[in-house]
């Protein structure tokens, strides 16, 4: 009998890899993908990037132009994330198994979270463009909706993880629903929630660039503009600034995390 388990495990593994190979080869054939060309192009792209896509001294002239744009993008990301987190907090309290008031509210708030999360950010940006045209509001709302979906889900799991124990204890003392939320659930889950919030701000600054390309606002628009003018030195300078910003925000939020967790 023991041999059978090992044989079965081996056969399972074989079958798994077989399926994987069929899927890979199948997709290569269907899309007419040339594997050798694919890999050699990577090298070519790197060579092109190395010889053209770097900031030079002349490109520094655009600094006064892009710095305000960068600031606008950062502030928009932070605003979208923090406002979304307030709404996400209410939705997650209504949706979590441990703190929900009843099943119907829970299903509704889980539904809202899943809807906002599963519509891609790009789709939000394009759809909102039709309503608000090229304005920072479009980008702001796109980031807000995507963040709301993600944060609600993350907060809900944070609350679920805190568990039922302290809630049960407070119920037994005669505390009411709001006492329990504010005295047990929030103190226990707040640090983890803030950590998610910081993560979302980091992600949103990156994503705001993409949204900016689509909606014609912020640093993303600057990048798009220089890129389409074939001013690759200026465009690469924009990328460098975005990278520096994201690394800086990551550094700050890692420090905040260390203090609160």
């Amino acid at each position: 009998m023991r041999d059978d388990i090992f044989t079965k495990r081996r056969n399972d593994n074989l079958r798994f890899f077989l399926v994987l190979i069929i899927l890979t080869v199948g997709s290569i054939i269907i899309t007419n993908y040339d594997v050798i060309k694919g890999f050699s192009s990577i090298a070519k792209a790197l060579i092109w990037g190395g010889s053209n896509f770097y900031p030079d001294v002349k490109s520094l002239r655009i600094l006064p132009e892009i710095l305000p744009k960068l600031q606008e993008t950062i502030l928009m990301s932070i605003a979208a994330t923090t406002v979304a987190s307030v709404f996400a907090l209410f939705l997650s309290l209504a949706g979590s198994k441990t703190t929900r008031l009843n099943r119907i509210f829970s299903i509704i708030s889980r539904g809202i979270a899943s809807l906002f999360r599963n519509i891609p950010l790009v789709a939000w940006a394009m759809v909102l463009m039709l309503a608000f045209s090229q304005s920072p509001l479009t980008g702001y709302l796109a980031l807000f909706f995507a963040s709301l979906g993600f944060l609600t889900r993350a907060f809900m799991e944070t609350i679920d993880e805190v568990g039922n124990n302290s809630i049960e204890a407070l119920q037994a003392t005669g505390a009411n629903y709001f006492h329990i939320i504010f005295q047990a659930v929030l103190p226990a889950s707040m640090p983890q929630m803030i950590s998610w919030l910081l993560f979302m701000i980091e992600t949103n600054i990156r994503d705001a660039t993409l949204v900016g390309v689509l909606t014609g606002t912020g640093i993303g628009f600057s990048f798009d503009l220089y890129y389409k003018r074939f001013d690759y030195h200026a465009a690469s300078l924009v990328v460098v600034f975005i990278v520096i910003t994201v690394i800086f925000i990551e550094f700050v939020s890692n420090n905040i995390r260390r203090v609160i967790l």
Binding site: N165, F182, Q183, A188
Partner: protein, 261 residues
């Protein structure tokens, strides 16, 4: 009149097997009662029916002259303030300090807003410090509960129950996660609470020897039924076997040390 009275209490979790069947007993003020029985006998359910953390399917429970089953939410909260509860896993909010956790015991007396903001009167704070001192935790007052040992956490649990000014304290396996020294300390505190403060203590226990040593009275439960209800000195080896069923055949109990009172 008895402080706590159960009449024909029955609880079904599913349609077929009752978790509690026709349980009746009454407990006087200041009594120390142990409930013993095998795992899954219904001890926890019995305890939780008393403060309606679990709703009994039928039967009547009266606490301090009030029949609990018909109470509205608000009156149930008022009733629960008279009943402290202590848990096997302490059920504290680990990220909060000892004093904050102790003061949670006052939430049942608070308005919604005062409870949310955690506003406690000077009198309540003084009482909390006094109780903490009695339990020997004065050096830990401002420590966070995740820095405490198991025995210290359970003492915080006791303090949280005491500050309710309860008439009854329910203890659900209070020493099941503790080492023998900490267990003895906790049981000594509970015994003192009963003897010196005149508070009724009802303890679910695994260990027969400890029940014999500390209790005024022992209730044996098996398969949801009360199979023994009497003084520790009346509990014979044969009765222990009736409580624990066939499980106890290989286990010999030391019936030597019994509570004298």
């Amino acid at each position: 009149m008895a402080l706590l009275e159960l009449k024909n209490v029955t609880k079904y979790y599913n349609q077929t097997i009752p978790a509690l069947e026709d349980v009746s007993f009454s407990v006087d003020e200041g009594e120390f009662v142990s409930i013993i029985g095998p795992s899954g006998a219904g001890k926890s359910t019995l305890l939780r029916c008393i403060n309606r953390m679990v709703e009994a399917s039928s039967g009547e429970i009266s606490v301090d002259g009030v029949i609990s089953s018909s109470l509205t939410k608000k009156k149930l909260r008022a009733l629960r303030t008279k009943i402290g509860m202590i848990f096997q896993h302490y059920n504290l909010v680990d990220r909060l300090t000892v004093i904050e956790n102790v003061l949670h015991g006052r939430l049942g007396y608070k308005s919604t807003l005062a409870g949310i903001l955690g506003r406690y009167s000077q009198e309540e704070k003084n009482q909390a410090f006094q109780i903490i001192k009695i339990l020997g935790l004065e050096e830990q007052v401002y420590k966070r509960c995740d820095q405490l040992s198991g025995g210290q956490k359970q003492r915080v649990g006791i303090a949280r129950a005491l500050i309710q000014n309860p008439k009854i304290i329910l203890c659900d396996e209070p020493i099941a996660s503790l080492d023998p020294n900490a267990a003895k300390l906790i049981m000594d505190h509970l015994r003192n609470i009963s003897t010196e403060m005149g508070i009724t203590v009802i303890v679910n226990l695994h260990q027969v020897e400890i029940a014999l040593k500390y209790s005024d009275r022992i209730i044996g439960v098996n398969k949801g039924k009360v199979v023994f209800d009497g003084l520790p000195c009346d509990l014979t080896a044969a009765q222990i076997q009736a409580i624990y069923g066939s499980e106890s055949e290989d286990v010999s109990f030391d019936l030597g040390e019994r509570h004298a009172g």
